[in-house]
């Protein structure tokens, strides 16, 4: 346990002592801020129009603002994650510090989980920025907080899953650029897979089921479905398992 924490803290420090953390936070804050502003503007405009026409209907902040925002977020996040995971192992391999880690009395799985956890916490910090925006909604309105929490949980699970995949890809190369691009390609593929849902064939259904996006959707509507949770948890597990195997194979090939 201590070892995992030691590694995790080191990862966090690395993020914050290089520009990458601030860059990611800024990029995310700007993009999310824009979407937030658009959503609010749309909401206000719709409310005004309704008042003018005199047909008053109940409007839900959750449905009209928070839901779309969360699903926006889950897409933006897809593009940020490769930048977070690419350095995890590729950099250690490139610098030779992997030798220090692998000759220290820690288990491979502790190393893997520590690294993944570090990137997950970094991810939470980025998500945290967007929570500030959403908190503003609570200051001026009375949105239901439970769907928001469900949505955030979905986001975290999805992030964790993609981070695990990225961590694995990072172990396969010394080159951060390659690790980043391959992760990006894989993530894009996992996203695009949901389009296969329109096909009727069984294989298409199976592949579409593997899409990250189709599992994130219900969370943004505030629904926690067991099958989605299971999906994300298994992807996390698979990713970390593959990472651990890859580290082990590194020893044999090195």
């Amino acid at each position: 346990m201590t070892n995992i924490w030691v590694i995790c803290r080191k990862e966090l420090k690395s993020y914050f002592s290089s520009p990458i953390a601030y860059l990611l936070i800024t990029v995310f804050a700007v993009i999310f801020g824009y979407f937030f502003w658009r959503a609010i503007a749309y909401f206000v405009q719709a409310g005004m129009e309704m008042q003018m026409s005199g047909r008053m209907q109940p409007m839900s902040v959750n449905e009209l603002v928070i839901g779309p925002l969360l699903s926006n977020m889950s897409v933006i996040v897809l593009f940020l994650i490769p930048m977070m995971t690419m350095r995890l192992f590729a950099e250690e391999k490139n610098r030779g510090t992997i030798e220090l880690l692998l000759t220290s009395p820690i288990k491979d799985y502790e190393l893997v989980i520590g690294k993944w956890l570090g990137s997950l916490i970094m991810f939470l910090v980025i998500i945290g920025i967007s929570c500030l925006n959403i908190l503003l909604l609570f200051a001026y309105g009375r949105p239901d907080w439970k769907p928001v929490l469900a949505g955030l949980l979905g986001l975290i699970l999805q992030g964790g899953a993609i981070l695990a995949i990225g961590t694995f890809i990072s172990t396969t190369t010394k080159n951060q650029i390659i690790a980043g691009s391959v992760t990006f390609a894989v993530v894009l593929l996992l996203w695009v897979l949901s389009w296969l849902n329109f096909e009727q064939a069984a294989w298409a259904k199976v592949l579409a089921y593997c899409s990250v996006l189709s599992h994130g959707e219900s969370f943004t509507r505030g629904v926690i479905e067991l099958k989605d949770v299971v999906y994300f948890v298994s992807v996390i597990f698979l990713g970390l398992f593959l990472t651990e195997r890859s580290i082990e194979s590194l020893r044999w090939r090195a």
Binding site: K10, K13, T97, L101, L102, T103
Partner: protein, 337 residues
Amino acid sequence: MIKVEGLTKRYARHVAVDDISFEVGKGEIVGFLGPNGAGKTTTMRVLTCFMPPTSGKASVAGFDVLQDPFEVKKRIGYLPETPPLYPEMEVGEYLTFVARLKGIAANEAAKRVDEAAGRCALGDVKNKLIAKLSKGYRQRVGLAQAILHNPDVLILDEPTSGLDPKQIIETRELIASLSGDHTIILSTHILSEVEHSCQKVLIINRGRIVASESVTNLTSKMRGAGPDMVSIEVQAEHLNPADVRQRFEQITGVSRVEVKDTKDSAVTLEVESLSGQSVRPLLAKAVVQAGWNLQEMRGINMSLEDIFLQLTGGTAVASPALESPATNNSDAGEQNQ
């Protein structure tokens, strides 16, 4: 302390380490000598549990590297060829991280870090970013990292490579100060390194051990059996080098004379005797009898450098005549396995 038996490491295309065996006792400093690509680093990586051997056994402090890697890792301090540093960290921060990584409890880590930093003279750079350190300081940080947890065995891969002469001497002194409580294996391709800091030397070439001996033994062995090599400088007016050469060649016991240098009125020659014969007094007498001045006469000792080149099959520095003892020695080396 360290026991290696029939260790072999095969990569996809070539054999890096081929069936080597050796033993290192507690408190010994052993130099691992060989040209680049001889298998030094591979052997060290096996010992540090960075990679498993293809076949054979290696154990550290009684723990097998395959069965108990965890126990082995706890007892080993390792400095790889490029010190494993994080440039974005400060020295103190880095050492604390490594201390925690090596399993030192948080409340004890600070003390150990101070200790190791003190030993490696890092006190004044503790708050500096590693990225800003000079190469010599980085190497010292690497060494501090290796001794943090006070390991029984220290494995140093080329600890002085890329340092300037002053830093090399400092590092050497540091290593010498660490001996005693630690068993040390250090690899190098710089031979004076071994002569200075090691008691025992393992010469490795193309994945095989070609000699394994104490440093003093090795040099004396080479010297005793071999022919005597003398460099001699003779000076006289209107001296003809060919004359000198001819005169020396007539002396009994001289097998070869070579004119090395002619300067104004002085001639420098290299004289080689037959095995086991001392020709120095005869040479001196010949010079005096001819009425020349003897400016200088000194024996050319076989340095570790020459031994090394011979054993590893490089071009011999001294002369081809020296090859016979070399082959003897490599035989001896193989028997030692």
